[in-house]
Each structure stands twice: as structure tokens, then as C-alpha cells.
């Protein structure tokens, strides 16, 4: 295809290819001449993979599921930015028109020891699952949805809890953090659950258990760069981190657990 059609773009892709967790990875270069500006980034990768399959090559492995910005599966670092450069956008919602015709695009996986590469651009985010299993839940049966206003919750509290609950657990905060810290994720869960009446009962135990689990996974420590907030596709606020720090301190003193 020649570049005659003004509605298509030429893109040079440098994609991280890695056979498995232990293999050494490297960038492979691919040239795409017929990229529609209306494609999403993932659709562009689909086109690349079709081509690779046709020529008998291994397709590029990457995570995705809903492709509508709600599941948290997609996870690419594009030209050094988690989910690409757009504010409040998952990479499945990022469109090729955001790139320039002829641009070279580096695609890398989330990089953090706690998120080992499984293959190519797919990383193992089960560290987040283990943190959730340590305390990111409510133990009591909360029954079916209660009648509206049966449990009074102040508007501001509900808003804050909802804002934190918007976290889709994609891990972009870790990927974007210069220290690979998971504080934004954990703090979103802590403040989402701890603010609501059903979750409040286990507030102290939850924050301590989740922080301990986070530390055990080998994430880095927060140094308040706030890159996580800027990269978060759901724009979770770093105020949650301050909230978690405060609650962790209070819980450590208040809890009757001497260990």
C-alpha cells in the first residue's frame, strides 16, 4: 500500500518481545503503512497480529478484555507513559489519531519486579489479587441491595467512596511510579471500603493487612511524585494515599493486636 490515501497513517512500532518470564526480552521493529486514525491502539495491534499470523510469526501477546475502559486488563506503556499520554484514558480507549503520521512508537509492558512479564506485553498482576485477599473485602453478609436511604450515608462520603471505587486495578499507578509503588491502588481500596458503613467495621484490620501484603510483594515506597495520579485512567486522587497513611498510623496504635 502506498501512502496515497490521506486517511491512513504510517507507524513504526518498536514492541517489547519476551518469550517468558525468565527469557531476556528485546524490542522488535514493525512497520505499519495502513493504520486508520480511527482505530484504537489495541485494534492497531490486532492488525499487526493478523499480519504476523499470516506470515507464520508469533503474534504479540497483550492483555485486553472489555475494550471500553472498565475492566482494567489493558496495560501498555506507550512512549514511556502508562496507557499512553491521554489523561483519564485506558489504552483500549486511546486512538491512533493521537499519534502523528510517520511516528515511531515504543510499546513496553508495565515494569516492576512485583509485576513479572509473562510474555511480551503481558504481566502477572496477581500481586494485586493477593493484596485484595489480605483485606480488600467486607466479611459480613451485607445482603441484597438495601432500600435507598435505609443506611444513611452523607453525600460527600458517598462521593469520596465512589471516586475511590472507580479504581479498575489496572496497575498503571505502579507502572508510572518512579519507585514502582502500589500506594494509589491500595489506598483507593482502603478508602473506598473504609468510608462506607458496611466496610467501616473492619477498617483498622483492613488497612494494616493490606499494607503488610503490599510490602510483602516487593513494591517500592511512595515518595510523593504523584505520577500515579497523573497516569491513572480513572483519575484516582493521591489524597487517598494520605488517608491511608493516616489510617495505617491510627490503626497501628489503636488495634489491640500486639504482634
Amino acid at each position: 500500500m502506498s501512502g496515497a490515501n490521506p486517511d491512513t497513517m504510517r507507524i513504526t512500532l518498536k514492541v517489547w518481545r519476551q518469550k517468558d518470564t525468565d527469557a531476556a526480552g528485546s524490542f522488535k521493529t514493525y512497520y505499519l503503512h495502513d493504520v486508520s486514525p480511527d482505530m484504537s491502539f489495541l485494534e492497531m495491534l490486532d492488525v499487526l497480529n493478523d499480519r504476523l499470523i499470516q506470515t507464520g510469526d508469533e503474534p504479540v501477546a497483550f492483555d485486553h478484555d472489555c475494550r471500553e475502559g472498565i475492566c482494567g486488563m489493558c496495560s501498555l506503556v506507550i512512549n514511556g507513559q502508562a496507557h499512553g499520554g491521554d489523561a483519564g484514558t485506558t489504552v483500549c480507549q486511546l486512538h491512533m489519531r493521537r499519534f502523528a503520521d510517520g511516528q515511531t512508537i515504543h510499546v513496553e509492558p508495565w515494569r516492576a519486579n512485583a509485576f513479572p512479564v509473562v510474555r511480551d506485553l503481558v504481566v502477572d498482576r496477581s500481586a494485586f489479587d493477593r493484596i485484595m485477599a489480605a483485606g480488600g473485602f467486607i466479611s459480613v453478609h451485607t445482603g441484597s441491595a438495601p432500600d435507598a436511604n435505609a443506611i444513611p450515608i452523607p453525600q460527600e462520603t458517598a462521593e469520596q467512596a465512589m471516586d475511590a471505587a472507580a479504581c479498575i486495578g489496572c496497575g498503571a499507578c505502579v507502572a508510572a511510579c518512579p519507585n514502582s509503588a502500589a500506594m494509589l491502588f491500595v489506598s483507593a481500596k482502603v478508602s473506598h471500603l473504609g468510608r462506607l458503613p458496611q466496610g467501616k467495621a473492619e477498617k483498622d484490620r483492613r488497612v494494616v493487612a493490606m499494607v503488610q501484603a503490599m510490602d510483602a510483594e516487593g513494591f517500592g515506597n511512595c515518595t510523593n511524585h504523584f505520577e500515579c495520579e497523573a497516569a491513572c485512567p480513572k483519575e484516582i486522587s493521591v489524597e487517598n494515599i494520605a488517608t491511608m497513611n493516616r489510617e495505617f498510623l491510627v490503626a497501628s496504635f489503636r488495634s489491640r493486636d500486639l504482634g
Binding site: W16, G25, F27, V77, N79, G80, Q81, G85, H106, E108, R111, A112, N113, A114, V117, A176, P178, N179, S180, A181, M183, V211, Q212, M214, D215, G218, F219, G220, N221, C222, T223, N224, H225, F226, E227, E229, A230, A231, V238, E239, I241, A242, T243, M244, N245, R246, E247, F248, L249, S252, F253, S255, D257, L258, G259
Partner: protein
């Protein structure tokens, strides 16, 4: 008996809180220090500064305790800084080939270990060579300060060091409040301003001493 406290403080958040508290304590020390130094401007012959130093010394063993306490806080701040920095390096063994920040991290926030380490280099000269462990300083305090700071090489070194301290505080002061959990939509914009103000006030405030004694002090009186 205090295992719970050890566990809490050795966690990632615990270390951050200790980092913040030691940092804020050092800021309080800086405030006391700059107020004390202002006595240098009070008179030409240095009596006010010498009196200030004698007042401090009149506390005797209490001053020793304060000095040891200050040293301990510095040591804790530095040891924790190194530990956190090492852990953070370690947390991403495979680096990104392309790295682009989103504009939230700043030169100040990204260089805390470098600015901190340079402040440490400065402190060695300031404390060990120039003043605290220099016997000439204890014989003639104000005169030694003026002599030392009026040398162009020293004055340049001191001014540069204060610029670096300012950079450390430009991130550190605001960051410390976030670490100890003080964040609120009403508070955060104020902290932003206060952080810059504290950084500029200390950097410029301390830098006036070498600048004054280099350019405007005519020597002589002690």
C-alpha cells in the same frame, strides 16, 4: 513489648512517616538556626552573636542532649533515605527503555537523594571544618563566622549549598505533610504555597549571610 510499634514503623508507610517527621524536625531546627544567625546583623562587633552562643552554652548538659538528639535525627533521616532509595531502585530491576513523566514529578522530587547527599557534604564542611569542631570558632565565634564567609570560595560554596537545600525543601516540606496523612482539598493548595515559601525563605535567608559578609563586610571588628 513494642513489637507492634517496630512492625508499624518498619513498614513502607512507617518509614515514610519517620522520614517526614525527622524532615520536619530538621526544618524546625533550621528555623531556630536562622533566628540565631540573625544576631550577626544586630551589631558590627559581633557581641549579639557571641552572647547568643554563650546563652546556648549556658544550658550545659541540656545543650549536649539537644546536640546528640539533633545528630540522631539527622542520622535517622539519612539512614532511612538510603534504605528507601535502595528499595525503590530494587523494585524495578528491568528499567523502561523510554521514560516520559507526566509532569507531576518535579526536578526537586526526582533529585531528593542527590540534593540530600549534597547537603550532607555541605554539613561536613560547615560543622566539622568551619565551625562546631573548629577551635578558632569557639574562641572568637562571630569573628570566625565573618572571616570564613567573607572568603569568595567559601561564600560561593555556602550560597550553592543553600540553593540545594532550597531544592530539597521545595519537595520535602510539602511531601512530608502528605506522608503523615495531612491532605484535604482546602489544605493542599496552602501546602503547595507554604512548601515553596519555606524553600525560598530558608535558601535566601541563609544565603544572605555569605553574600553580606563577602560584599558588604569591611572586616576588622569582631
Amino acid at each position: 513489648m513494642l513489637r507492634w510499634l517496630g512492625n508499624a514503623l518498619s513498614s513502607s508507610i512507617g518509614k515514610k512517616i519517620l522520614m517526614a517527621l525527622t524532615g520536619l524536625f530538621l526544618v524546625v531546627f533550621l528555623a531556630e538556626h536562622i533566628l540565631g544567625n540573625l544576631t550577626l546583623y544586630k551589631d558590627a562587633d559581633g557581641t549579639a552573636f557571641n552572647d547568643y552562643k554563650h546563652t546556648l552554652e549556658s544550658f550545659g548538659p541540656l545543650l549536649k542532649v539537644a546536640e546528640i538528639g539533633l545528630f540522631a535525627v539527622f542520622a535517622a533521616h539519612i539512614v532511612l533515605a538510603l534504605k528507601l532509595a535502595l528499595e525503590n531502585r530494587e523494585a524495578r530491576k528491568q528499567k523502561y527503555a523510554v521514560r516520559a513523566h507526566r509532569g507531576k514529578a518535579t526536578a526537586a522530587s526526582l533529585s531528593m537523594l542527590i540534593t540530600g547527599s549534597l547537603v550532607l557534604v555541605y554539613l561536613f564542611k560547615h560543622v566539622v571544618i568551619d565551625f562546631r569542631f573548629n577551635s578558632a570558632y569557639h574562641e572568637a565565634p562571630a569573628a570566625t563566622v565573618k572571616e570564613t564567609l567573607s572568603k569568595p570560595s567559601n561564600a560561593t560554596f555556602y550560597v550553592l549549598a543553600m540553593a540545594i537545600l532550597g531544592l530539597h525543601l521545595a519537595h520535602g516540606f510539602r511531601s512530608a505533610f502528605q506522608s503523615i496523612g495531612a491532605s484535604h482539598p482546602k489544605l493542599d493548595p496552602l501546602l503547595e504555597i507554604a512548601g515553596t515559601a519555606v524553600a525560598v525563605l530558608f535558601a535566601v535567608g541563609f544565603a544572605t549571610f555569605p553574600i553580606y559578609f563577602l560584599f558588604f563586610w569591611t572586616g576588622g571588628a569582631s
